[in-house]
Symmetry: C2
Subunit: 341 residues, 2 copies
DNA sequence: TCGATGAATGGGAACGTTCCCATCATAGGT
DNA sequence: ACCTATGATGGGAACGTTCCCATTCATCGA
């Protein structure tokens, strides 16, 4: 079983020093004479040589590895962003080490340690818990950090994600415009994840200005529970003073949209007559009968920006302030928010 | 900015040799006296020491890294399997390096080289092209290899995936049982991916025994093209000798199911009256009106088995024959294959 | 009592790179 | 012609770990 060739063997084969070979493969070819380059290239090809990244990482700390911590890898949004991250890494010659925490803070801590052990050059984090201490320790050691989607209490790091306020505003405007007057906002428990909090409060703040009535429901438990909440919202008598105003559901993310759609079907509610709208565009939103209106996140752009932010070293210390990159959602209007009345 | 502590510093802090510290962290604690263990543990804790995986990987080749090459990371099936792989790795203290090839054979070759450069200890491959030569080179160097879902011409390696024959048989039985007599099999181009070929031929072989009429359509181009094919299938006159037999569509995988569902909606065909069934269970299959019947793959199990196979060293040379682990799909019957007529 | 056995520990070389520094031409300014 | 800058090249130490071997010391059978 042939072992992989080393830099020394290439050097011998080419009749040059290992330093020159190292230079050749570290992108310093311009420092070498064309003749040397050619001989090295030939020798490397003959021996099928590839630099050993482990050894590289050991010496200069240049592991060329980026770590990405994903809270839930089965969430299509996360995967879409990951696709962008992966692409951006590839363009820069970086490899991506992905860890999934399954929303388990304990696992998150473990994986954070793991990535550090692999000397990743940067970390993109879609947090599940609040590993503030661990992250602070890492940044203190000079590890570049970017937060994805979710902010984290005390950690001073760039953040890339959706412009949540804008998203809620767009949603409220659209729903109001379409004639819905009473809204039910559906969300997963907001305590942990900052975007959920942000969206929820913006929802509540945004009602008055648009003369909308609304309330929020946090789905803590089962689908059935949420179904009951929706039923209560839909069947109870109208708010005082208003006639029977059309009602609509606003879903905080893709998972909620899925659950809400399921509930609506079980209740036999007609989409459109009862409005339904969600943040996150999914494969099937166009397929459910009149189509479900969504706010699509520019996932690819978010992923690319995450890597860009990671690699943009702040040039001055004063410049090291945490930046935020907020992306605009795109409204995809469909039948679920059309009162065909 | 404090640098990460090294093994030498821990050794000094604990007043022992670096060898002992190394032993402590390499799971050879039983070779050390309890007193030593205790001192090392304390020192490591004080300095917040973590072994540097790069250095580890360099010395003994023990990178503790598993590489996974995914043809299309946005395919929910791939992600679900990846979830299983990731979990299995975690349980064994392995980290996972994931690369997405976006179905680009060129990129696949690049990434294969990348993973080799990181000294991964094993490779799980969901191939997009046919990197036979590269893979053969790797196996020759003793790299454990497992093929996921897709076979690869000449490469001698274990394979983990669905029992495709069984899946098609189940589908045909179900459709026949439900009263459908003429079938249209929809698939993406089969030349590249072995499961597509296998499913297609099994479909064709299986028709006669069940007295079914059937044909296959390969969607090479646009959605519209496929829509026309479906329309032609649904509207043309019945086969000679038979009356007007109920017709059904069978989709080779999740992506096809999505496209077919879209087409059916555009054609205004009622699901159930026209049968629809697909391989791969997806979030939304229960949501489309009468529900779409699917064959669910045990993705988690497949992922776990992939890692298990990878790590199971063949004990004898004769034992090194390529093994196949074929998993049973599970039928999830819904309205789309119910003739409510 | 003595060498053999074995367990606990430590010293040092290797792993494959990068990078600092030294060397050696060659050219340019005086 | 000499001294210095400049550019190409090579030698060797480091990076943090593992692993082979050596050492020490106690135990044990004869």
């Amino acid at each position: 079983m042939p072992r992989r060739a080393t830099i020394i063997e290439v050097a011998r084969e080419a009749g040059v020093s290992k330093t020159s070979v190292s230079r050749y493969f570290s992108g310093e070819r311009d420092k070498l004479s064309p003749a040397l380059c050619e001989r090295i290239a030939a020798a490397a090809l003959r021996l099928d040589y590839r630099p050993n990244q482990m050894a590289r990482g050991l010496k200069g700390g240049r592991s060329r590895l980026i770590g990405m911590l994903v809270a839930d890898i089965r969430n299509p949004f996360s995967v879409a962003v990951m696709h962008g991250v992966e692409r951006a890494c590839r363009e820069r010659g970086l490899a991506l080490l992905v860890c999934n925490t399954d929303n388990d803070p304990e696992l998150e801590r473990t994986h954070l340690g793991l990535m550090a052990a692999y000397q990743v050059e940067g970390l993109i984090i879609n947090a599940s818990g609040s590993p503030d201490a661990e992250l602070q320790a890492l940044t203190d050691q000079g590890m570049p950090l970017v937060l994805l989607d979710r902010e984290l209490g005390t950690v001073q790091a760039d953040l890339v994600g959706l412009d949540n306020a804008r998203a809620i505003d767009l949603a409220l405007d659209h729903l109001a415009e379409q004639g819905y007057g009473e809204l039910l906002y559906l969300s997963e428990p907001p305590e942990r994840a900052s975007p959920r909090r942000k969206r929820l409060t913006r929802f509540q703040e945004g009602l008055a200005a648009r003369r909308l009535a609304g309330e929020a429901y946090t789905m803590s438990g089962s689908d059935e529970e949420m179904q009951r909440a929706i039923e209560a919202f839909l069947t109870r008598s109208a708010h005082k003073g208003s006639g029977d105003v059309p009602r609509a559901l606003l879903c905080a993310n893709g998972a909620v949209t899925l659950a809400a759609t399921r509930a609506m079907q079980r209740l036999g509610a007609r989409l459109g007559k009862t409005g339904l709208m969600g943040i996150d565009e999914l494969d099937w939103c166009a397929l459910i009968d009149p189509g479900i209106t969504t706010l699509a996140q520019p996932t690819e752009a978010i992923g690319q920006q995450a890597v860009a932010s990671l690699l943009a070293k702040p040039n001055s210390q004063a410049d090291a302030k945490a930046r935020q990159h907020r992306f605009e959602p795109k409204l995809i209007a469909r039948g679920s928010t059309r009162l065909t009345g």
